[in-house]
């Protein structure tokens, strides 16, 4: 997918505005993935499917002349529902089996929307979706990002966060302590599905067209790169990762590649993202801002001894 609108001939303020909005949209996807992979250890290679579900809910509602709110509600419910559905097989499948299955779910979804043309015009895609005014999009995104970032950091420190980080590090141990691993994974995937879908909903109302090409494996990988670059498990780090990758994407469009034209530029971008991801994981796996370990005040006498 194009990570920014075509900037050729666009003014600086327009580019900046578009970049910020994409930081917001990818921020939603990255925070959703961080919740799954960074905190709960769920290796979701089909992350883009939540984004696609949100986008397609809007497109389907538009294609069938339903009001905007129907698309929004449908997207959020479908995203959460799909997440919950994906949680179920995690009970019996090993980590990498589930990862492969999640990739299959995303491929499955794309094949359906490509071939069932009454949904949203098949492979051609749905054009002319209602464009939301920029301030409205900015407010929705800023509000959602701020509450998600702060919310995730709060959740990390309470019992729920301790349990899901436990599941990430040793699911069997958590299960043996009497916690239902499935229940926590279901909650995390349901929430992540809705968050990712919200990203897709805003994307649809900003770009105003939806087609299947925008939701490939490369989007999932880009979001993984953002999460891992910033620091998997650290919400603020994840936002830094999103912003840096988005700046890189805009910067690439301004570089004076005389020979590099439209299609080749997209290939170059894909190659650079892929190389960045691999170098990052080979040389700095913890990211720029690593997850901080949660510290608790010492209980009992320890507190006083330390103060003294």
């Amino acid at each position: 997918m194009g990570t920014v609108r075509n900037v050729a001939g666009a003014g600086v303020s327009e580019v900046a505005q578009s970049t910020l909005i994409f930081v917001g949209i990818y921020g939603m996807l990255a925070l959703s993935l961080n919740l799954q992979y960074g905190l709960t250890g769920l290796l979701n290679f089909g992350q883009v499917v939540f984004f696609a579900v949100g986008g397609y809910a809007v497109a389907v509602a538009y294609a069938h002349h339903l009001p905007d709110w129907a698309g929004i509600a449908g997207g959020l419910v479908a995203g959460a529902g799909l997440g919950i559905g994906m949680a179920l097989p995690s009970r019996r499948l090993a980590e990498e089996f589930w990862a492969l299955l999640s990739l299959g779910v995303a491929a499955f979804f794309i094949i359906i929307v490509t071939n069932v043309s009454w949904l949203a015009n098949g492979s051609l895609g749905e054009y002319g979706i209602t464009l939301w005014p920029t301030p409205a999009i900015a407010i929705v995104l800023a509000g959602a990002l701020a509450s998600l970032t702060v919310g995730t950091e709060l959740v990390r420190k309470v019992q729920f966060g301790r349990v899901i980080r436990g599941i990430r590090d040793d699911a069997l141990l958590v299960q043996s302590l009497g916690r239902s691993v499935l229940r926590f994974r279901t909650a995390v995937l349901g929430a992540s599905g809705a968050i990712g879908a919200l990203g897709g909903i805003v994307y649809a109302h900003w770009i105003t067209y939806i087609n299947p090409d925008a939701f490939g494996l490369s989007v999932t990988l880009l979001v993984f790169t953002m999460v891992l670059l910033g620091g998997s498990g650290n919400s603020y780090g994840v936002l830094v990762g999103v912003a840096l990758m988005q700046l890189l994407s805009v910067g690439l469009q301004y570089l004076p590649f005389q020979a590099v034209t439209g299609g080749d530029l997209a290939l170059l971008q894909q190659a650079i993202y892929a190389i960045a991801l691999m170098l990052l994981l080979i040389f700095r796996r913890q990211g720029l801002l690593p997850e901080r370990t949660v510290t608790y005040p010492r209980a009992g006498l320890g507190r006083w001894v330390r103060r003294a």
């Binding site: 019996r92 090993a94 990739l103 094949i111 494996l217 894909q270 190389i275």
Partner: protein, 297 residues
């Protein structure tokens, strides 16, 4: 009878093509310990190099060149990338391999262009029970039978095969008995890349090859391997057979006959069928047909 023969012919050919790719994927999983997304690109290299070279040199020679090229690429990928992250968690390795998938895909697309190319040749054939069977189909099944039998014998009855199995089970133990496990791993990568390229080449001479060839066989490859049990080589072949025949049969059945009409599953839903078949098997046996159960919270 006609239907039966055509299902067997189509099923066997696809089972060989997919089986070679799934088998080699399974070998790397067993020996290196993670699911390598980039594995499909060895098959893609096999297909693209074969089809491109077939314009200038004989087809058998281009297949051999493609197979060696992919084997060397696989060794290169190990030395440059995967050897450096051997101690990393499985998730990290899988993400790196997915990155390699996208990088190589961009490279292939840059060199190859977006248009699909077709191998022109392989005409002629025989007719069995009213179904015409091409010589290319017979050759593919023959190659498959020979390679699978040879692979089985090598793994089971030769020193090289024992070394590979020993290293896969425990690199430390193998090292302590004087095995150069690094060298064995290099051989495994070469073997995996070469077998995948052979599968890709055999598939590529039958269908149009475009730069997304790799991504297109990702789901079938996973489905066949997981069906058979990840890490079980014979399971991967069995998985490919089940998938291939299941798919050939499902695509051939006239589901509309219940309603007195003609309705077949459209062929673009091929991977949907494969995926549903996979889900059905995993619901009953989460570790696949031939895999062994592992504890999971």
């Amino acid at each position: 009878m006609t239907t039966f023969v055509s299902i067997v012919a189509v099923g066997l050919v696809y089972a060989v093509q997919l089986g070679l790719i799934a088998l080699s994927f399974s070998i790397t999983y067993r020996a290196i310990g993670f699911a390598n997304f980039a594995h499909v690109q060895f098959a893609a290299v096999g297909a693209t190099v074969t089809v491109a070279l077939a314009y200038v040199i004989p087809i058998w020679l281009s297949v051999i060149v493609a197979v060696f090229a992919a084997g060397l690429l696989a060794v290169g990928a190990d030395l440059l990338i995967f050897r450096r992250i051997r101690q990393a968690p499985i998730g990290t390795k899988m993400i790196v391999s997915a990155g390699l998938l996208l990088l190589t895909q961009a490279a292939i697309q840059f060199l190859w262009g977006v248009n699909p190319r077709i191998y022109a040749g392989g005409t002629g054939g025989i007719t069995i029970a009213g179904v015409s069977i091409g010589y290319d189909q017979i050759v593919i099944v023959g190659i498959g039978a020979v390679v699978f039998a040879a692979f089985h014998q090598i793994m089971k009855n030769t020193a090289a095969g024992r070394l590979i199995r020993a290293t896969a089970d425990s690199p430390e133990l193998a090292e302590s008995r004087g095995v150069n496990s690094g060298l064995v791993v290099t051989q495994v990568w070469f073997l995996a890349g070469a077998l995948a390229a052979l599968g890709g080449a055999l598939l590529g001479i039958q269908i149009p090859v475009d730069p997304l060839f790799g991504q297109q066989i990702l789901i079938p490859m996973f489905a066949a391997t997981v069906l058979g049990g990840l890490g079980s080589p014979m399971g991967a072949i069995a998985g490919a057979l089940v998938l291939s025949f299941g798919q050939a049969a499902l695509l051939d059945i006239n589901f509309g006959s219940f309603l007195g009409r003609v309705w077949h599953v459209p062929s673009q839903y091929q991977s949907v069928l494969q995926f549903l078949l996979l889900i059905a098997v995993l619901a009953v046996r989460p570790w696949g047909l031939f895999g062994t159960s592992r504890e999971r919270a």
